[in-house]
Symmetry: C2
Subunit: 289 residues, 2 copies
């Protein structure tokens, strides 16, 4: 029997349990200036209205964790990330995922955050492990481990499993238990490599079999460059949930993807009497009126 | 490594290879009077126009095998099934799946059919095994084995695996190799049992691990009684393909389900350069004009 570790995240007032025995946790991806010009411009001007609205809308659409990224080129990221975090904590109660490549910004954000955050992310590079794991340990946070290292992104599921194993082992040595490591297999775009989806799915399967840890993934990159992306993303996220994905990072405002997640939970026996499915259907009906 | 058996079906002029190394084979379900009043009425009157149109439409929509059922209450099924088969063979070239619970009709149909048919179906009941397997052997056909027996439909994946094992073993003893047995795990409705999807998916996984045979399934029953069925069916069929489903019996005229199958094949690395996905997208665009 595969073990199913439970990752617990919290805000000041709420707790979220990520596990293959629970419904899938959607981590809302929208509070991120990368590729979103309106967010970038607002953050550059020190305006946070769009962040507030993104936070409220994503939680209303079903996100139970929000990713927060304040990576604005040229800005004081430690300061800005703290401001954005406070803004989000003021309007929502869900646990947050602190998304930065800057260890100083990460330290500042973890000091500001109230609760147990998810850190996005560490990877298998020595530099990343050395900078991120001590902070995660110190603040008793959880951390996303990306399946890449000093050699880049491995081409095979087996090689990605090796990177995941290294991250989990190094986390353990730093005093972070496996249940606080969430692995991201990395889903590359299928338009440039037809095997990108298969490799990500197979990596999830291997990592879950070996370690029973929770799995996250950005689930929209996979369809970049293809037509009718929402259908590709919907099928892929349902298959990834079947493989063991537990907390995708995605845009909950895309109805098709959220619907695929709810349908996948139903098919996995995680929606007793289909109550969540039926409630979501009624909400869609109401929203369409 | 799991073995992947290849099931070959043929018509007079075409061959279809069912395997986890190939794109999913859609078996069109529409030529069936059960639950379709128009088909029932037409067959009762000896009119076959609707059958012709169903055959042509389903192949155009992507079915590469067609299920043919002529179970009209009170009719001479052996005679009617032969007529319907001939009608379908006149307008399409795809291999056929002969769908009857009547051994006399099955014998008549197999004698009429030109090529290697798929027989729908045998199950683990002694009576069924004794009646169907000798006919399948005699005509060198392939056969669908339903995971049910004299005790009904088992409640657990492990018990369904046992029934599948029995059918495969008895087929072998009758001279039918495992590659000519296609197992149906049976997907019951999730509205009456929240675990119905999970049990079907887990059964597929176990049967594939153990025997490497091909897997079929009626993929729409699962959502009976639920709202927005097409979304449930789409997610479920993608997940089932990930589990090992290779030849679902479904309605290819439901765009969402066919699209989910194409997206699932893409995610499984069975669509090089996404060529099938892009071609299908262009066809949808053209059809919408």
């Amino acid at each position: 029997m595969t073990k199913n570790l439970i990752t617990i995240l919290s805000s000041a007032t709420q707790t979220v349990e990520i596990s293959r025995d629970n419904p899938t946790v959607i981590i809302g991806e929208r509070i991120n200036p990368t590729g979103r010009k309106a967010v970038l411009a607002a953050l550059q001007e020190g305006k946070f209205d769009i962040v507030r609205q993104d936070a409220i809308d994503q939680v209303a659409a079903g996100a139970t964790v929000l990713d927060v990224n304040a990576g604005v080129p040229g800005a004081d990221e430690p300061q800005l990330l703290k401001q954005v975090l406070r803004t989000v904590m003021d309007v929502t109660d869900v646990p947050l995922c602190i998304d930065t490549a800057n260890p100083i910004a990460l330290a500042a954000a973890l000091s500001t955050y109230e609760g147990k955050a998810l850190v996005n992310s560490v990877n298998g590079e020595e530099k990343s492990l050395a900078a991120v794991l001590p902070l995660v340990r110190e603040h008793e946070a959880a951390v996303i481990g990306l399946c890449m290292d000093d050699n880049g992104i491995a081409a095979t599921p087996e090689a990605r499993l090796t990177v995941a194993a290294k991250i989990i082992e190094r986390a353990n040595k730093s005093g972070i238990p496996a249940e606080n490591v969430v692995i991201d297999p990395l889903a590359l775009t299928m338009s440039s490599d037809s095997n990108a989806g298969r490799i990500a799915l197979e990596t999830i399967k291997l990592v879950v079999q070996e370690f029973g840890v929770n799995i996250t993934m950005g689930a929209s990159n996979i369809s970049f460059g293809l037509p009718d992306r929402k259908y590709v993303n919907s099928a892929f996220i349902a298959m990834a949930i079947h493989a063991g994905l537990t907390c995708p990072i995605t845009n909950p405002l895309v109805t098709e993807v959220v619907t695929a997640v709810l349908a996948a939970d139903l098919a996995m026996g995680r929606d007793e009497y289909a109550m969540r499915w039926i409630r979501a259907y009624r909400q869609r009906q109401k929203a369409a009126q």
